[in-house]
């Protein structure tokens, strides 16, 4: 702790190099810029979920609600309030975070499957609001009639709409900030209390940690970052529809986290990359692409319960 270990830093260096250079190597292997952006955005969502799932030991099946609030927050701000990407992201993140903070006290005393079920239930409430409130949200057709706006920095303005590469780097910068904050928190005394709760809630409680309060904070942080991911997702598509809030979207985040490895920091990003690339490739081949992702997921869970990254780690260790 505190000391810099070269071996431990190596994976971080590799991940960041790959991410920063992505627009250059991705086309060479048949990808396109938006695909890379999707990986980073959904990777952020899965990593945010994993802050709660992998590092606090609490399974949420309702993160799509906050992802969707971030997405609608940015879309509705640009459409109705002010044509500013920055303001839209801010509104999206604040809305998602406040909703999580308010719902938190109602659910943090629940554990395990009860917690998961209630998070789904709350998520569905937001889904139905978005689905039914046609005049404001566009209902089932989604919220259209807006696009991401140039970033106004005062002295200059950056067009993130027309160049996918510029937008990618914009997303990557926000991703880097979010991920750095999460990594920082996990290495702090507060982060160690979360890991303690994951490891043994009873012991954590009898060390004098008010467990419910710490789970609430972890939940709010996790949902705050997932709403940032949702806002970026809406900006990526210049569109948002109620599916972003649907409970199956929450399931996708859980699948990504478990697929990549929820005990490793970068695992969910790897999971998101596998998920997005498989989806992109398979959905152009077959309508039943979800079955193949499902099959792949089952195989990973059966044979590599610690996820793809967990498996690689073990190989390296042995």
């Amino acid at each position: 702790m505190g000391d810099i270990d070269i071996n431990k830093q190596a994976p971080n260096v590799v991940v960041w190099l790959l991410l920063v250079a992505m627009p250059f190597w991705l086309p060479a292997i048949g990808g396109y810029p938006e695909l890379g952006t999707r990986v980073v955005v959904l990777g952020l969502a899965a990593m945010s979920l994993n802050f709660l799932l992998g590092y606090t030991g609490v399974l949420s099946f309702g993160h799509a609600a906050y992802f969707g609030l971030g997405a609608y927050g940015v879309g509705m701000t640009i459409r109705y309030l002010m044509p500013s990407t920055g303001a839209g992201i801010l509104v999206g993140v604040i809305t998602g975070t406040i909703a999580a903070a308010l719902i938190g006290p109602l659910i943090i005393r629940l554990r395990g499957v009860y917690f998961a079920m209630v998070t789904i239930a709350f998520g569905q409430v937001f889904f139905f609001i978005a689905f039914r409130w046609n005049s404001v949200t566009g209902g089932d057709d989604g919220l259209t009639g807006w696009t991401r706006m140039p970033l106004n920095l005062g002295f200059t303005s950056i067009d993130i709409l027309h160049s996918p590469r510029v937008f990618y780097y914009f997303v990557l910068i926000l991703f880097a900030i979010a991920v750095a904050i999460m990594a920082w928190l996990l290495r702090s005394p507060f982060g160690r209390t979360l890991i303690a709760i994951r490891e043994n809630e009873r012991r954590a409680r009898f060390l004098g940690i008010p467990v419910d309060q710490h789970i609430w904070i972890s939940w709010v942080i996790s949902c705050g970052f997932v709403s940032l991911a949702g806002a970026l997702y809406a900006l990526l598509n210049n569109f948002v529809d109620p599916r972003a809030l649907y409970w199956t979207q929450s399931g996708d985040f859980v699948i990504m986290a478990v697929l990549g490895g929820m005990r490793s920091f970068w695992g969910p990003l790897i999971g998101a990359a596998i998920y997005v690339v498989l989806q992109d490739y398979l959905s152009s081949e077959t309508e039943n692409w979800m079955s193949f992702i499902g099959l792949f997921f089952v195989l990973v869970v059966l044979f590599f319960p610690r996820g793809v990254l967990g498996m690689i780690r073990r190989k390296v260790a042995s």
Partner: protein
């Protein structure tokens, strides 16, 4: 000043009366043992003191404050630490990380998103000190889940000690241990009691341990207090011998 005063606490589980109006006072610096046959209500009694269970009736006064309805974490903040019959540690963390978490929480850093260099030094020094007392220094960087039962138990006791408790509750500290491990843990408890003047209440089945350590002994049977006194008094008590010690010796 009396440190802990338990007044007529009872615990009912439906129609079962697990603990029936038991009282106990513990003076600072005392080492109190609670003995009794299985199902006597010893652990239930412990759970009410630590806040793991809420009593059906009765009061618990700690350092002149009524703590009867406080949550476990708040009782810890007031100075009550405990271990469990089945060791409760963080198995996938190292001994050092287990202790570090306990030390940080006690130092008031539980919500800190960062630690100053001074704070970090202070935490490390305290962890090193605890490792030293426990004799676990050589195993500090091993995962607790991979250690022998006795070392896991020692880790749990040291985590409780990291909380700087005014009262340490140990629920069967030597349960499931071989002779050497039992001896080591007994020596550790003795050292904490003698050197650090720690007030300890322990539940124990091993009579060698009890008579070796305890200043006073309380005997529970079927939820009621059967007897209370010094080890000599308890050893000479006919009711206790009939109900409990006789069986243990046989």
């Amino acid at each position: 000043m009396t440190l802990l005063r338990v007044e007529n606490v009872s615990k009912h589980f439906g129609s079962l009366i697990a603990v029936d109006s038991v009282s106990m006072t513990v003076e600072p610096g005392e080492l109190r043992a609670i003995i009794g046959p299985n199902g006597a209500g010893k652990t239930t009694f412990f759970n009410m003191i630590s806040g793991f269970l809420t009593q059906t009736s009765g009061k618990i006064i700690f350092a002149d404050e009524d703590i009867s309805s406080l949550l476990p974490a708040r009782r810890v903040w007031r100075g009550i630490a405990r271990t469990f019959q089945i060791t409760e540690v963080f198995p996938e963390l190292s001994v050092r990380e287990n202790l570090r978490t306990a030390v940080e929480v006690t130092a008031g850093y539980r919500l800190s998103p960062w630690l100053s260099q001074d704070g970090d030094n202070e935490v490390r020094a305290r962890v090193a000190e605890l490792l030293d007392v426990s004799g676990l220094a050589e195993k500090a960087d091993r995962l607790v889940g991979e250690l022998a039962h006795g070392d896991q138990r020692a880790t749990e006791i040291m985590m409780a000690l990291a909380l700087k408790p005014r009262l340490l509750l140990l629920d069967e500290p030597t349960a499931g241990m071989g002779d050497q491990e039992t001896y080591d843990i007994t020596q550790l408890i003795r050292k904490l009691h003698r050197d650090q003047k720690l007030t300890i209440v322990l539940i124990e089945h091993d009579m060698r341990v009890v008579f070796h350590l305890a200043d006073r002994i309380m005997v529970l049977a079927e939820g009621k207090m059967l007897a209370e006194g010094t080890p000599q008094e308890i050893a000479a008590n006919e009711i206790v011998q009939a109900a409990y010690l006789g069986k243990a010796a046989a």
